[in-house]
Symmetry: D2
Subunit: 255 residues, 4 copies
């Protein structure tokens, strides 16, 4: 039986979600998205040229990918709601990643406003994926508000610091009955693998791919890493022990 | 140009080395080795039935793999040398992984005796891969003694603790002009990826695969992980920053 | 000029706050509090015998300590408010540590309800110290609601896991203009020192002292550790470097 | 019964050893040594003016401290032995810290040459303390060669990186019957406390004190930290648990 993630009515075979920011140009972005094998891509509505000119970012996103527009730039729930509705009106589908950020140094999400936007948009039929500061209680509120998945940050956006909030993300994975998608902070393939080994349902990677020396190859690396971590999780990781355990027989060979 | 590792005159495309201990049976081992896509396998000479009966472990190792017999069970250089010669006499080729261990709790290698065995065997034409306790100066001595690669332990054998000796292994990778193969301690695919991201030339994994709930699938996971880490390393990991860096534009969207 | 922490109108010379749970008996607790040199102690109102019998926990708390009753057992803001008022009515002063917990496995605080209780009680003149799940935005809301200090958890209560939420706590310390008191999870003296080196204004320790083999001596250890970390922070920690820097001259001594 | 460390015939009450390099001047060094309460100080023989001029570093070392001259600058065992003999001839006592370093970037000790120097000098009646790269087998050889204590590095000298070689140092502490003094790399008071909590018998700190903004106060901080960690170790650290354990009663208070 194939391992798939069902989200917002879609059946996803690949658990790597990707972003579209910080690439050198749209062509490079398109090639990296292609190389990633990802099926879900987030894009800031701000980036989309609604006059539909040729250089629009949407032109370079592989057609078969599911668009997950995000509300980047929103400072409160109302702004996020307006951006979400606009995205839908533009024909970008009904998935929405909610980002509500008012802090300008660490770009940390505002869990309360995010929950409020989640509730409004879920009631309007959106598939809502809130980006949030890891916190079990806030995650439960977002779930109750109708979120389709929860997207806790591993570390501040674009920092490439890795999964610094591991303790709380692990608790969320263990305690929640909703998909957990680790978003923000993942800087290396090994960290994406680690998130999957922890039991995350997916990861979203943008900066680590876009700012690599070779973004297209790095996208491939993350594809492999997410598969590695997921299969590792499903295959039952062996126990960690304090002392050694011989792999090979140690009794005197020549004795 | 393809990324390959040249070692002992062989050109290797896969940088995952595997072991043969702790599997449920030879059949499971053979399937896991197959699934790993690995090209190099270590086997304790003790495990080899020199009377060549049917159940011999060698029967279940894919024929195209390079054998790297190890001297498991040796307590000093002399015993290691005798085991190596025996392996060669049995037709197991001229690769030898030197393990000299006298501590029975943590199974830590003895760097001095290992260096001594390395020198003797390299002079006899063996491709010598010494398993060692991470230490730059000891590694340089092993290189000078004729080692083909250096195999520092990440953590005690079979502990699945990960790369606990990261500081010294990173120094060895940065300072040595010989291949570094991280051996022992790697317990999860993400840790294998991490070793490769650090710049290791290969990793050897045994316990983490053999003690997984599903060793065959776990072997696949490690194959993906090693590729992920290697490609990540070659693609130039992006910089880590203290604060956040927006992936998407933040200027007031609706303003 | 002496280094002091001014909180709720009190001038504190010692930055170790302690708790009263899990001790073998009241006598041991009293001796540990004495040994800690702490000036602030938290006590669950539930523990206080309001009929004022002789075995009451308050009898064994050194008289000069400032009581910080906590609302342990409260599942929402309203219950916390009621407990706080009761504590004041019982003559326990106007400090209150707000704990609102509805999760029974990890005992994680509910930031939204905690903020609500903070606002009500701050308006009634309490010195409010909310225990919270580390989150910069939630901390800012608590500050705006009138909190006197913010008490983020380092790890789940009583887990002795250390400061697992370091990333977010460091951000809170750097970005907030209110005292930050790291509470919960600190299991070793070194971890208390580390919190202080990060710039925390104080730490609260209970389980690590009460469950030590010798709680009275462990209280002394934490007193030293908090001083060590605070002085270290004030004395300007030296820079970390990737490579070595000789402490002693290395030029050929013997020529 | 007082907790003391007996080493080379001396009974030490303070487990912080200090160094003399990198201070702004001798006066500052002297004040920092005083503030540290340390009883053992290492000094590079190179620093000592053997013509006995007034500005000699020895003038500013508190008289009651035990001198532990080191062989900094030695590139092999023979040079270390010559420096040690010279130190003794100059009246600096019979303690000697052996440093044999040939790598110029990470300043890593050479365990084999260090063992050789240890054996020669122990046979001549010196109290020998070898500085070494953490490795259980090398430590056992140094013990067998007559070392009075073993001084593994936590991280490269002067890096302030902390105890990066924790895994092997913990094994050495657990397995050796000789005092273990963690030397090099300790950059913060919390890290000194951590070494002591691990069961180290003492720590040596130099760079972290000398390069602090206020070295004299930082010396005090390390004194407190070492006491904190040692008392913590002796008082039996409480167990770490995966989930939470309530410090205070949780049953419905107002129920």
């Amino acid at each position: 039986m194939e391992d798939v993630l069902t989200l917002g009515g879609k059946v996803l075979k690949n658990r790597l979600f990707v972003g579209t920011g910080k690439f050198a140009d749209h062509k490079q972005m398109g090639e990296a998205l292609e190389a990633s094998n990802s099926e879900v891509v987030t894009v800031a509505l701000r980036r989309v040229d609604m006059e539909e000119q040729e250089e629009d970012i949407l032109h370079d996103i592989p057609k078969e990918m599911t668009l997950m527009p995000n509300t980047s730039g929103a400072r409160n729930a109302d702004e996020a709601v307006r951006i979400a509705r606009l995205a839908k009106a533009c024909g970008m589908g009904n998935w929405i990643k909610i980002e509500v950020i008012s802090d300008h140094k660490y770009l940390l999400p505002d869990n309360e406003e995010t929950t409020r936007a989640t509730e409004i948009l879920a009631n309007e039929g959106f598939v809502v994926l809130p980006y949030m500061s890891p916190d079990l209680m806030a995650a439960k509120r977002m779930r109750d508000a109708g979120a389709a998945a929860i997207m806790p940050l591993g570390a501040p956006i674009g920092s490439n610091k890795g999964i610094r909030m591991k303790e709380m993300i692990q608790i969320m994975i263990d305690e929640m009955d909703l998909p957990i998608v680790v978003d923000a902070g993942i800087g290396k393939p090994s960290e994406a693998a680690e998130a999957m080994e922890m039991g995350a349902d997916a990861v979203l990677v943008n900066t680590a791919i876009a700012t690599a020396s070779d973004p297209v190859q790095m996208a491939r690396a993350f594809d492999y890493a997410v598969r590695a971590g997921r299969i590792g999780y499903l295959s039952g990781l062996g126990p960690v022990s304090a002392t050694a355990n011989a792999s090979s027989p140690l009794t005197g060979f020549l004795g």
